[in-house]
């Protein structure tokens, strides 16, 4: 494994220029917030005043300077998270590793911290390697996303590239939701049995009998289920042996929701189909 051109595979952790924000924060319970943050400079031999100054500087960055002398047990989850971040940042690492850092926070706090983390990252210009299971978090925060499957990288791309051009069925399904079409239905639609993915929001649904716009592919389906999500609804449509999902904006179709079992036509452009590699 190389880091900025240097082989670090055999370098012990205390000599790597990488710091980690742990999932469980791993704050030292017998030290104050400031002492926790000053731990890195302390073990590197910084003097007492120097340590304190560095710690307060970074705590300022994560807006925790007023709590510098509290004990970690007196902090909330979000505050502990910030201390863990400050403690890792104080060493000015070249790379900061974040192992599901927001996993233990509730949704609102998580969204706030996402924005804040991104802002801090851009301000400091440090590379963040951010491990997460939350695909929304990955898409909204990252410049580049690597999708792992069984410890191997499946695809590396920009969030947009990953979403628009997933290379494999795994990536298509893992990042956002996707209809993966293969076999007979694929041949029927495109003339080839090569599997392809189509995003639910790219599928238009029309009443049976209505003309398909020129250049669009179409097939007939039966409405099986509708799941209401507020701004949108997810329609599950049976097409032959497969079930395809379409996402419809709720505002326009609210009055025109067809009954279950209704015969409908699914239409989509050829460009919205993403051919997938075989695995």
């Amino acid at each position: 494994m190389t880091l900025l051109g240097e082989d670090v595979t055999a370098v012990p952790p205390f000599r790597r220029n990488v710091n980690t924000v742990f999932q469980d924060y791993a704050l030292f319970p017998h030290m104050s917030v400031a002492e926790n943050v000053a731990y890195g400079p302390m073990v590197r031999g910084a003097g007492r005043d120097e340590r304190r100054r560095l710690a307060l500087e970074v705590l300022e960055l994560v807006q925790l300077a007023p709590l510098a002398d509290r004990a970690p047990s007196q902090l909330s989850g979000g505050q502990k998270q910030r201390v863990a971040l400050a403690r890792a940042l104080v060493n000015r690492p070249k790379v900061l590793l974040l192992d599901e850092p927001l996993g233990a926070l509730d949704l609102r706090l998580r969204e706030e911290m996402q924005i804040e983390l991104k802002a801090i990252q851009q301000r400091l210009g440090i590379t963040f390697v951010y491990v997460t299971h939350d695909q929304g978090e990955a898409l909204s925060m990252a410049d580049r996303v690597a999708v792992f499957r069984d410890g191997r990288i499946e695809q590396v791309d920009t969030p947009r590239g990953l979403y628009v051009r997933p290379r494999t069925a795994f990536v298509a399904r893992f990042v956002g939701s996707a209809n993966v079409v293969e076999g007979e239905l694929a041949r029927q639609l495109t003339g080839s049995t090569q599997a392809f993915a189509i995003r639910p929001e790219m599928i238009e649904v029309k009443p049976a009998g209505e003309a398909t716009p020129a250049g669009m592919l179409s097939c007939a389906g039966t409405l099986e289920e509708v799941h209401y999500h507020g701004a949108t609804s997810r329609w599950h449509l049976r097409v032959g042996d497969a079930v395809l999902t379409a996402v419809r904006p709720e505002g326009t179709t609210a009055t025109a929701a067809p009954a279950h079992g209704a015969r409908l036509v699914l239409a989509f452009t050829r460009e919205s189909l993403v051919p997938l590699e075989d695995r």
């Binding site: 012990p12 952790p13 000599r15 990488v18 710091n19 980690t20 742990f22 073990v43």
Partner: protein, 304 residues
């Protein structure tokens, strides 16, 4: 049945009474057998013995304590006992820490069970048997000197035994030998609380420390040791107080000098001076109290 049921209903509505009923027997036991006898001991130490009739005069006086602290021999005994207790505690801590750290952090469950049995098995054997066995092991022509000779270290052993105060004609009749037996005897009491304390230190703290640039020694000093201090304090209270109170090991192994425990034994038995025996046993109580206060001030219990 009906009586039982109505009794149950009666107790259910009166939680405080129920709790008091449950706690009464242990509280009585603790209050009378433990604290009561301790108080009786304390009171005894403030009585004195009549020099002519050898009877205890039940009048409160400081005469016994005066007797205790005015004799240089008694002060020697206290000093000797405390020095031994400190040395044994320090040695037990140094030996126990690596063992406990391995058990808590690195050993597989099987290995850990093996270590637990290994640590506790000696405690299942009679204490007297072990002490007398050690006297044979440490005797002049015993296993210990044979093994030292096998390693070619006999000159080093002879040098140590030639040292003033701690030395002697053989290991079995020197303070070095007594120190070895004490350390062996109380080591489990140091290891077990230390394992418990170290098990409570999350592994991620050790990882975080290394991640932040601390070398293994620094991680030990700044993270593992401070968080294990309560265990170390608990263990050292055992080793310290057990050494202060023991009278069998000093009378079987080691140099002829008296220890506090031996004095208590002798004064309440052959000499029949119960107040002096009581005064002698108050000394370890005070020493332990001072030690606990010091440990608390040093922050040994902050991480609890």
């Amino acid at each position: 049945m009906a009586v039982l049921r109505s009794a149950a209903a009666f107790l259910y509505g009166r939680r405080g009474f129920y709790l008091a009923l449950l706690l009464l027997p242990p509280l009585l036991w603790l209050g009378i057998i433990y604290l009561g006898s301790l108080f009786a001991l304390l009171v005894q130490s403030f009585y004195a013995i009549d020099e002519f009739t050898a009877r205890i005069v039940p009048v409160l006086t400081l005469a016994t304590y005066r007797q205790l602290f005015s004799h240089p021999a008694n002060l020697d005994i206290i000093l000797r006992t405390v020095a031994m207790a400190v040395a044994v505690t320090a040695a037990a801590a140094v030996i126990a820490f690596p063992v406990a750290n391995y058990m808590a952090r690195y050993a597989s469950p099987r290995m850990k069970a093996f270590f637990y049995v290994g640590v506790m098995l000696p405690m299942w054997t009679s204490y007297l048997v072990k002490v007398y066995a050690w006297r044979l092991v440490l005797a002049k022509q015993g296993i210990a000197s044979w093994f030292v000779d096998l390693l070619g270290l006999t000159p080093a052993l002879e040098g140590a035994l030639a040292a003033p105060v701690i030395g002697g004609p053989s290991l079995a009749s020197s303070y070095i030998g007594m120190f070895i037996v004490f350390t062996y005897m109380w080591l489990p009491f140091m290891i077990l609380p230390l394992v418990a304390a170290l098990e409570r230190v999350p592994g991620s703290l050790v990882q975080a420390s290394a991640d932040l640039g601390a070398r293994p020694g620094q991680t030990f000093r700044h993270v593992v040791l401070p968080l294990a201090l309560p265990g170390l304090a608990a263990g050292s209270i055992f080793t310290f107080s057990l050494t202060l109170g023991d009278y069998i090991i000093p009378s079987v192994v080691g140099a002829p000098g008296y220890f506090i425990g031996m004095m208590v034994y002798q004064q309440q038995g052959t000499a029949g001076n119960l107040p002096l025996a009581a005064a002698f046993s108050v000394v370890p109580i005070i020493l332990i109290a001072v030690y606990l206060a010091l440990a608390r001030r040093m922050g040994a219990f902050d991480a609890l």
